[in-house]
């Protein structure tokens, strides 16, 4: 078991080098000159530009730039971005907000997705099931930015149930609206997965055995149907966590959340290689570790799964 975890953790190294290299190269290959772009319409003197280039190692060939980046990374010196702020500090500001947002979205989609999916599965073919299926399809079909603006207007502005924007001081309370929007699409998938899994397990032989033992319906549902149905759902939830962390750009923009998505977007626009790669590296770590946790959870949920050494 420990051997397995170690092996999985070691796998992070090639994944990490591969992704950072790829992302760094993509930013490097972006057209345009990031330094000139900084100054907009009033170009500075060539001497200033040359000096800035040297400061950010932009005058070096790609491999040297990448090598310097790796070296800095392993000495825990992420450097400064083009506005002169230390990257590490801004990561420290934006990640807690995004983690809060993602976790809140994850909780919302899990609680509601599993509950509705379970009920729909148990009442397969009935009115509730049909309604929920159609509704989830609608949610999947509507783009996030439409959903985001509509909910912002409706719940945030007209009804005033939640704050329409988040701003600098993000907390669990004012993140509820963006978290709902962020979680809605995954919610629909969780619901459908749970439903399909429940429908399949409902007719399993061991459920009939549980009934024949004299268990009440609620106990059969919770201990025998739900538990066994959670296995595919957990896999999806783990994979979706990465998406929630890194893919919240639209939602964060709509609700003005000072999180990873916004920062990443700005950094890409400015061709700020070090910032982009730093953010992506953390996201890669989150993704890999989330998947490892899912695999461990898997073995706990389903004892038939054993890790080969």
């Amino acid at each position: 078991m420990i051997q397995y975890i170690l092996r999985r953790l070691l796998q992070i190294i090639p994944v990490f080098i591969g992704t950072t290299l790829l992302v760094y190269f993509m930013v490097f290959a972006l057209p345009g000159d990031p330094i000139r772009a900084l100054f907009g319409d009033r170009p500075p003197s060539e001497a200033v530009i040359a000096q800035l280039r040297q400061q950010y190692n932009l005058d070096q060939p790609f491999w040297v730039q990448y090598g310097l980046f790796l070296k800095n990374l392993f000495t825990f010196n992420l450097g400064v971005d083009f506005t002169g702020q230390p990257i590490a500090a801004s990561l420290g500001r934006i990640f807690p907000v995004t983690v809060m947002l993602a976790v809140e979205a994850l909780i919302i989609q899990t609680v509601f997705g599993v509950t509705f999916g379970l009920i729909a599965g148990l009442r397969k073919g009935k009115f509730f099931d049909a309604t929920v299926l159609v509704a989830s399809l609608v949610v999947i079909a509507i783009p996030t930015f439409v959903l985001g603006f509509v909910l912002q207007l409706l719940i945030g502005v007209q009804l005033g149930w939640a704050k329409p924007t988040v701003g600098a001081n993000a907390d669990w309370g004012n993140l509820i609206l963006p978290a709902t929007v962020l979680g809605l699409v995954s919610f629909a998938y969780v619901l459908r997965l749970t439903r399909a899994s429940v429908v399949e397990n409902m007719n399993a032989d061991y459920v009939r055995t549980a009934t024949a033992k004299g268990l009440s319906r609620p106990r059969v549902v919770v201990t025998h149907i739900l538990r066994n149905s959670m296995i595919p759902v957990i896999t999806y939830l783990g994979a979706s966590l990465g998406g929630l962390m890194g893919g919240a750009i639209v939602t964060e923009s709509i609700f003005n959340v000072p999180g990873v998505g916004q920062k990443l977007f700005q950094a890409v626009i400015r061709s700020e290689g070090p910032t982009v790669v730093a953010i992506v590296s953390v996201l890669v770590l989150v993704f890999v570790i989330a998947n490892l946790l899912v695999d461990l959870l898997y073995a706990w949920l389903d004892p038939r799964i054993r890790y080969e050494n």
């Binding site: 007719n203 061991y206 009939r208 009934t211 024949a212 268990l215 066994n228 038939r304």
Partner: protein, 611 residues
Amino acid sequence: MTDNITPNQDTAPAQEPAKGAVVLEVRDLSVDFGVDKKWVPAAIGLNYQVRAGEVLAIVGESGSGKSASSMALLGLLPSNSRVSGSVRLSGKELLGASAANIREVRGKDVAVIFQEPMTALNPVYTVGAQIVETVRLHNEVSPEQAKERALRMLELVELPDPEKAFKSYPHQLSGGQRQRAMIAQSLSCDPKLLIADEPTTALDVTVQAEILDLMRNLRNKLDSAIVLITHDMGVVADLADRIAVMRRGIIVETGTAEQVFRNPRHEYTQALLAAVPHLGQGGAEHGEEVDVTAALAAATHAELDSVDHEELVRRERENAAALAAAAAERPQGEPVLELTDVAIEYPKQGRVPAFRAVEGANLVIYPGQVVGLVGESGSGKTTIGRAAVGLLPVAAGTMRVVGQDISAAKKNGKQLHHVRRHIGMVFQDPSSSLNPRLPIGESIGEPMFLAGEAKGSGLQKRIEALLDQVELPRSYRNRYPHELSGGQKQRVGIARALSLKPKLMVADEPTSALDVSVQAKVLELFQNLQKDLGFACLFVTHDLAVVDVLADRICVMQRGRIVEQGTRDQILRNPQEPYTQRLLAAVPLPDPEKQRERRELRAQLLASGVE
């Protein structure tokens, strides 16, 4: 909780069974299923009763309603069903009882043992947790007491290490152990009635014999009433006191086991009994019936209490004479299949190392010969069948098929392609081995078309001829597999295998998914075709009685090795290997009296210490 069952309480009442109070009384029980807004009857007006300490076997083929009617007793049918009539458990009406009352009865007064212990136990909980769940549901006991009780039940069902079994998950136990655990769970609340739904169907014969022994012991110890649902006449003969034969939802005959086997009155019962392959009776032209019991007794020097000594000696002598008179093998021609010291491996996949499934196999099949390859699950019999067609690589030794050495043949290479044209293969599950999207005519014609043997109207003629050969109407060729019954599908499978006029036929359990009466017809067809066309055949099966009907030679496999081979007479009349003897002793005979003799013999065999 009453503590009247402990593992060492062997002094249970020795009185005759079937004299207890009536436990279950079923009157006019009817079950219908709603299909496409119509009620389709599954059981019609059933009447029967079961007494304490008595085993009632409900026998029938698939679709007879035997399972549905029994599940109806406890309200375990899906919601699209309708049940009417009366079911009384010790005088208390169960049909129409409130949900809470029915729940009280389930698991406590009436327990069920299901067919497939792998799927009937929840894979994510330990065996112990599931038994404890049952115990605590119906008894006010602490977790420790419940655990103690569960351990005692696991001991009662003769699991070798109850502590370990308690902590095991279902997939960590073997099939037989799982079924024991299932039985332990069923018995954990001292049920008055036990419903056993095909309890041994998914198990190997030797394991089946053990479970049947266990159930017989428990019946004597516990004095419960047992309803045994099965399609297997051998199992019925082994266990049942009384029998109800069901067909198409109706009980066509009831009686004591003795009456039904000795003197079946209804023609369906007669047909059913005639269709059951009876070990020792196969192939009239092979010689007269083999008295397997006497043969085993002779081979192991056993004495039977239930059989008169003189009588046994006479029967043994008869066997020996028949064996001596049996035609010696007359192999002729070039072997069609020849295995010399063959080892077969499942190649390694990723981190899973290669698995050697067969080792040191020697086997020869001459033209026109049928060789039965018999063994239990995991013995490697199917592996040999697959390797003969080149689906698995040969790891060591040489394998010659129709004169060509394919041991070193490349996967999907030209050589295998060529060799396969001379081999026909029939698979176990006719439903999944036919492409559901092709009309059966095309399935049959495909090999010929691909081999370039025929096309256009020539091909159509060949397809028609093949349909004639397997006795299917020509008009069926435009039908799809789902429109055919299981037996018809297997006929299509045979026709497809015959389409290239193979020299060798590899048949992998072709009849084990079929009902006995259908199996009998398919086997008869197969036999006739083999005689007419003269192909050699490797017939892989777990069922000794089927091999007995068909095979000239029998090979017995155990754990990847061929432990014994010989002519049918040599194997049945004079089995030498302990494993063969045990296998022969484990096959239940559809005859209560003979089965009693064999039980005694089997007990002696096991007691004499053969592993």
